[in-house]
Every structure is written in C-alpha cells, then in structure tokens.
C-alpha cells in the first residue's frame, strides 16, 4: 500500500507504535547505492547498534536519520518518528527537520576531536541545542548537563575551548551537548573510537546510563566489545547492505554470516601471545634507552610552565624481539618514539644504538611505520616512488622496478596498486605501503607508532599478521607503540606499560597480562575484559 501522506504531517499516534520506525531506507549517491533497504524499529530505552567496517554504510544511514547527508548523497524510504513522517519517501521540509534535530533526535558526530566549534566556549557549545529548542537560557545551564556526563570540574571548564580539553573530555562535552534539549533518541557515531581504553570504558558506562534513563540509542561502531555492552539489537553492515540483523546476544553468539564471525574473532582478546624467541641476554641490545628524561618548557605572556613528558625511562630492545610500549595518550609514548627515532633530544639520559646483527661494523638501522600513513606519504607521488624513496632517498628514480616489486610483494601489496596515489588506497593498503617503505632501507628495527590504530578490526588483524610475518622472515626487532591492550597482547613478546611519562611495569607479555602487579595495569586490563 502506498501511503498517501504529506511528509512531516502528524498522524494519529498509537500507543504501541515504536518511537522510530524505519522501512526500506536507501542512501544513494547518484545511481550508486551506499546503503540499501535498511529497516528497523526503535523503542524508548532501547539501543540499536550499526556495526561493520568503514565504508559499510552505517554512518551514512545514521546521518540519513537526521537528514544531514554529505553533498551529493540522498536518502529515501519511510521513516516515522513519534507519529511524524520524516521520509515519505522523500525527506520532510527543512522546518520539520529543524524541530526534530536536537530535541527529538540528537546526533553525536564521529570525530569528537573536531566536532566542537574550536572558537566557541564549551559552555556555549553544550547548551546550543537547548537554546535553539528553548530549554536553556545561559551558559551556566551547561553545568548540570556536564555533571551528568561526569565531566570533571564543569565550572572551571565552562569558558574553555575544545583545544584545551583532552579527548575524553571533548567526547563527554559532545555527549552533553547532544543531551541538552532532552532528545528522545541519541545517535552516537563511533563515540569511543578516538579514545584510550579506560576512557572508552567510561563512555560505555555513560551510554548505558543514558539508555537506562529512557533515551533510545543508536550506536554506530566497529567495536564489537562496545556494542556487546550497550546494544539490544544489532544490524551488521557490509558494503552498503545489512548482512545480519537481530538481538545482540543471538547475533554475537550464533552469527549466521561469516562476516559477522570475522568481526567477532578480530575483537577477541587473543588467548596466547606469540611465542617468545630465544634472546641471548648477554648480547648487546639493538637499542638501549638509559634513564631518558624529557621536559618541555612553554612560555606564555604570563607564565612559564615546565611539563615532564618522560621521567627516567629505561628499556632494552634485542634482535628478533617485539617490545610493546603500552600507554594512554599523554603517557609519553610518542615522545619516547621521537627520541628513539632521533627526532628529539632527551633532556637527560641517552639512547644507545647497538651494532647491526647483519653488519657489526655499523650501528643498527631503524625503519619507521607511522601512525597515520596518509599524512606520512607525499600525496602527489605514486606508491612505487614512495617505496623507492625508502630504498634510495637521494635518487628514488634509479631504484629498479624489480626491487620495488619485491618489497611490495613482501608486504602483500598487489603490484597493480603501485602506480596509485596514497589517497586511492584503502587504509590497510596504505599501512602496507608504509611498512614496505620502512623495510626498504633493510632496517634491523621497525618502530611502529600506533600502526594499526586507524584501522578497522579485521584489517588490523591482517596488518598485525603481516608485521609478525615480516619479523619471522627477516628477523627484525619491533618496537610496537600502542594504546590498544588487545593489539599489544597479540603481537608483543615483552611489554612496557607507561603512565605519565614513567614506566610502571615491564616484563614478558604473558606475565604482565596474567599477573599484573601495578594497579594501573590492573585497571587497564580490566577495561578490556570481555
């Protein structure tokens, strides 16, 4: 039956009608379908999760629900919210949407770090939706909202701006801003992705609390562990279609699609860390970090502040060993990486490079695998030239095609991709390309700085396998810096746990994970327990 109603016109609201009803929602860009035939119902106090890898269509589906799609993308279908037709099948007029957005359906954008206006104060940002829908008057109305999301010291931060806040605080402020007009539905797009484990855990608890208070949640996430704890119903997206849909427990325990199974497997905490190679303790380590301290001094017009990024850090890295450096943002692991790479000079202490195992007359060589491969490659160069630059930085054009092909083959990068530019590659392919570049100089050590953080879980697993493979083939040592407990446990033989610039725990991965001694490590591990 074709509904003969005007979009946006209220219909008689039946009590047992769901709060939000979506039928046959399609998101298209021109003739290309980005998400097809999405249908679900949502009741107050319930949570529905969209899971799947990036590009699966889950974020676009979420944005279609508030009719804020990127330019060139359109949606159609039947969507009814609280008896109002939002799509029928074309979207309702702008006037209707302005009333629904914020007060009816609130949306928390994907990247909390850039989703607050950097030029406006936290207080103004938090109450904006309340102001628009006449539920707040002044900046101080943000205080109870911020308190509700457990934002630390709301009074003090009211006039701060987002660049003065940590990632977790920005995420909380963003959630508070979503709640300021008392919406009945909250859409949270990847609310935990950019955060470290412990903060992630707290945001999950906050979402659970919001749900308990009767707000319906739509959670968009690639992280099965977050979904498991919050969602009642799961929709698994893959390449623009819903491959599986059902109650969370059923879908996660007895997945019917192999893709869902792969997502679940990738999120599991690996049972056994990689077997540790035999290391001769008397051999000279490839890298010795001895008592390294690094302080930064910031001068403003009024004050001089000294921050200690690293405080007396020591560690050794041996040939063939994978050493995980585990810590939250701000723990000093990036500064440590920069010092080991020679990009920063320690205030006190030293890093000493041992002799290369292949050529004892020379010092060990380091290859660098950056956190964000896209910004670490020249966007105007094809991948082949980027890899060639690693072989011979002075004359990349003289490197033989054969040499480049063999490096690409080693990292599983198809040679048909070598003439593409970095932006034409997928996230996993980019990561492979920078690993190939790092290997091009025949390094003895690979320094991987959050090398898998930006990747979806299934891609992440393949890159970790690749790093492991490279290590067994070439015998390189790996320094693996990460905030992700799961990843470190999976790949590292030994682990160094850092906090506030200090090493709080060090030991073989298995020992540290099975019997942590420092309370911080205990906390960190508890936050990821399934």
């Amino acid at each position: 039956m074709i509904e003969n109603t005007t979009p946006g016109a209220p219909t008689a609201h039946v009590a047992d009608e769901p709060l939000l009803s979506v039928t046959g929602l399609r998101v298209t860009a021109g003739s290309q379908a980005l998400a097809a035939e999405v249908s679900f119902d949502l009741d107050p106090g319930h949570c529905i999760a969209f899971v799947g890898e990036s590009g699966g269509g889950k974020s676009l589906t979420a944005r279609a629900l508030i009719n804020l799609l990127p330019p060139g993308v359109a949606a159609s279908g039947q969507i009814t919210y609280a008896g109002r037709h939002l799509y029928s099948p074309r979207p309702a007029p702008a006037r209707i949407w302005r009333a629904v957005r914020g007060a009816g359906i609130a949306y928390i954008a994907q990247d909390a770090l850039v989703s607050l206006d950097p030029l406006r104060t936290v207080g103004d940002e938090v109450i904006e939706s309340g102001l628009i829908h006449q539920q707040a008057q002044q900046r101080t109305d943000a205080i109870p909202l911020l308190r509700k999301v457990a934002f630390p010291e709301p009074e003090r931060h009211l006039t701060h701006r987002s660049h003065q806040l940590s990632g977790g605080m920005r995420q909380r402020a963003l959630i508070a801003s979503g709640l300021s007009a008392n919406p009945r539905i909250l859409i949270a797009d990847e609310p935990t992705t950019a955060l470290d484990q412990i903060t992630q855990q707290r945001i999950v608890e906050l979402l659970q609390q919001i749900k308990r208070e009767g707000t319906a949640l739509i959670l968009v996430s690639h992280d099965i562990n977050v979904v498991r704890h919050v969602a009642d119903t799961v929709l698994v997206f893959r390449q623009g279609s819903v491959v599986e849909q059902g109650p969370t427990s059923t879908v996660l325990q007895r997945p019917s699609s192999p893709y869902t199974q792969a997502l679940i497997d990738a999120a599991r905490l690996p049972g056994e860390p990689t077997p540790k190679p035999v290391i001769d303790p008397t051999a000279t380590p490839l890298i010795r970090v001895v008592g390294v301290t690094k302080t930064f001094t910031t001068r403003s017009a009024l004050t001089t502040t000294t921050t200690t990024a690293l405080d007396n850090v020591s560690l050794n890295l041996h040939a063939g060993q994978t050493l995980g450096v585990l810590g939250e943002s701000g723990s000093g692991k990036s500064t440590l990486t920069r010092i080991i790479l020679g990009l920063d000079i320690p205030t006190a202490g030293a890093t000493i490079m041992g002799p290369s195992p292949h050529n004892p007359a020379h010092r060990a060589k380091v290859g660098w695998v950056p956190q964000d491969p896209l910004s670490a490659m020249n966007p105007r160069w094809p991948v082949a030239r980027i890899i060639a630059e690693g072989v011979n930085p002075r004359a990349p054009r003289q490197v033989s095609q054969q040499h480049i092909d063999s490096l690409a083959e080693r990292v599983g990068l198809s040679s048909s991709l070598l003439m593409r530019r970095p932006h034409q590659l997928s996230g996993g392919q980019r990561q492979r390309a920078v690993i190939a570049r790092a290997l091009a100089g025949n390094p003895d050590i690979l320094v991987c700085d959050e090398a898998t953080s930006a990747l979806d879980v299934t891609v992440q697993a393949r890159i970790l396998d690749l790093i492991h493979q490279v290590q067994s083939d070439l015998g390189v040592a790996v320094l693996f810096v990460s905030h992700d407990v799961r990843v470190v446990r999976r790949i590292a033989h030994d682990v160094v746990v850092m906090r506030n610039g200090r090493v709080v725990e060090v030991g073989p991965t298995r020992q540290v994970f099975d019997a942590p001694t420092h309370p911080y490590t205990v906390d960190l591990l508890r936050s990821v327990a399934p």
Binding site: R101, I108, A109, P118, L119, S129, H163, S177, R299, L302
Partner: protein, 317 residues
C-alpha cells in the same frame, strides 16, 4: 614570586617587539636610501629647476650644505644617526622640517584610509554574507574578481570622470570634506573589499565543511544561526591575518588616489619627494609608514588572538 616572573616575561615580550620593530624600520630606511641613491640624477639640479643659472660654485656650495659631497657611507651614517635621535631632517625642496610636512598631511591620509577601510569591510561583509548560496554567488565572484584586478588609477579615473565631471555629485574642488573623501575612498576600498570578501567567504566555506558545522545543524540550528554563531567568526579569523597586507595596499593606493583626486596627503608628498629626489622626505615617509605597519600588525595580532583563542597558545609555545 609569580608576579615578578610574569613581569619579567611581559617585559621580555615587549623588548622583543621593540627590537623587531627597530630592525624592520632600519631595513626599510636602508633600502629606501640605497634605491634612491642608485637612481641617476642630481637632487641639486632638481631643486634648482631646469632654468636655473646657478654657477657650478653655487651648486657645489648647496651640495656641501646638504652633505651630498661626502662619500655614500658617510651620508648613510649621518642620515641614520639623525633618525635614531628622532630628527627626520629638513626637506631639500621646501626647506622645512620633514616632521612638520608629514604631520600636516597625516590627517588627510588617515581620514582617507579609515574611510576606505570601513567601506571595504562593510562591502566585503555584505557581499560575503548575502551571496554565499545560489546564483548570486557567481555574480559576486565575478564582481569581486573585477574589483581586485582593476588598477586603482583606472577605477579612480572612471569614478572621477563619471561622478565628478559628468554628474557633478562629488566635486573634486569645493564641496564639503565628506563629499571630497567619498570618491577617493571608494576607489581605494574596491580592491580591498574584493580580496576581503573572497577570503571571508572562503573562510566560512571552510568552516562549514568541518564536522562541527554538521554538529551545529544536528542540534537543530538554521542556516542563519549556523552562519551568525559559528561560521562568521571563523571567516573573520582567516581574514584578520590579511589586514596587515591590506593596509600596505591602502598606502600604495593612496599615492595614486590622492594624485588623481588632487587631495593632500602622505601619498602625494611621497610621490613629490621621490620625483624630486628629496631624500629626507622619502626617508620620513618610509619611517612613518613603517611605524604605521608595525602598529597595525601589533593590533591585528592582538585581535587575532581575541577571535581565535587557539593562537594564544600556539604563538607563545
């Protein structure tokens, strides 16, 4: 303790600013001196005029009086030495102190520059805000491009011939001070307004493509609210940094506009001094505009930090 540390840091900042300002002025003065000396011609000939029958002895005496017979480094050192003490010297042409000549003309130029700047900002804001969407945008883009590319002397001549000579609305001679400033200010403002509008609109477009703009819309904000509460400030932040450069174009434009409209002002004094090789006056103009630049840039720095608080940290780090 903290107060003394604060004072010390503040003093250090002020000292650095003054040091940099001195360096900029020295470089400007030196460059002006070298350029003027490199151009062939004798200031004494210019002073006396082509019909003068002064004897070579008399000419040599004038030259010695002005110190022009001394080697270049000595001349340079004496100019610089006087400037350090704040003495801009006497004009070769008018035989009056340079500082008197310039302060007399300063008011007229400042009135013109201020009128032009206000006009440019009003035009640019209007254009950028009204024409961000739809077909108007194309029209505005084309008009602004025309305004930026048209040479000031051409715009000035067209304006003068239409509105002063043909229509007689804004007489070049006579009329009130306000009437006399309008046409020159428009001629001077048009290119500045064109650049400002383009940069302002670009800044707002950039801001609109950021995730926080989507977030604002998701809160139920209308396009109007998004513009007034979010995008405008971002637009201004990107525009402000350009203001120092725009001030420069105002000064350059003033030379032409003041000549076309026969207005008094620093620009005309500068033009006259350069053609007459009146070195002290040229140096005076350079010092005056240098100080003007420094003040404008200091003000812009302070304003930029007020508009974009992120700069406060970045600039100090």
């Amino acid at each position: 303790m903290t107060l003394s540390a604060r004072t010390r840091t503040a003093l250090r900042g002020a000292a650095r600013f003054l040091g940099e300002a001195g360096l900029v002025l020295w470089a400007a003065v030196t460059l002006a001196f070298l350029v003027l000396k490199a151009v062939p011609g004798d200031p004494v000939d210019v002073m006396l005029g082509p019909l003068s029958s002064a004897t070579p002895e008399a000419r040599a005496m004038i030259r010695a009086d002005l110190g022009l017979d001394k080697p270049l480094p000595t001349q340079y050192a004496s100019h610089l030495g006087r400037m350090v003490t704040g003495d801009l010297g006497m004009s070769y042409q008018q035989q009056r102190p340079v500082s008197d000549i310039l302060t007399e003309q300063l008011g007229a130029t400042m009135a013109l520059a201020a009128a032009a700047m206000v006009l440019a900002v009003v035009l640019a804001c209007g254009a950028a805000l009204v024409t961000r969407r739809g077909w108007l945008r194309g029209v505005a883009d084309a008009t602004e491009l025309l305004a930026v590319s048209a040479p000031v002397f051409w715009t000035a001549l067209v304006l003068a011939s239409v509105f002063s000579y043909q229509l007689g609305w804004f007489p070049i001679v006579g009329g009130t001070a306000a009437q006399r400033v309008i046409l020159p200010a428009i001629a001077l403002a048009l290119p500045v307004a064109g650049v400002l509008a383009q940069v302002l609109r670009h800044g707002m477009d950039q801001a609109e493509s950021q995730p926080f703009a989507v977030t604002a819309m998701a809160r139920g904000a209308s396009h109007r609210r998004l513009t007034s509460h979010h995008l405008m400030r971002h637009g201004f932040a990107s525009t402000l940094t350009l203001s120092g450069f725009l001030f420069g174009s105002l000064l350059g434009g003033a030379v032409i506009v003041e000549t076309v409209f026969a207005r008094p002002g620093i620009g005309r004094v500068a033009l006259g001094a350069i053609t007459n090789r009146d070195l002290p006056v040229v140096m005076g103009v350079v010092v005056f505009s240098g100080i003007g630049f420094l003040i404008i840039n200091a003000v812009v720095d302070v304003l930029a930090r007020a508009v974009d608080p992120r700069l406060r940290k970045a600039a100090d780090a």
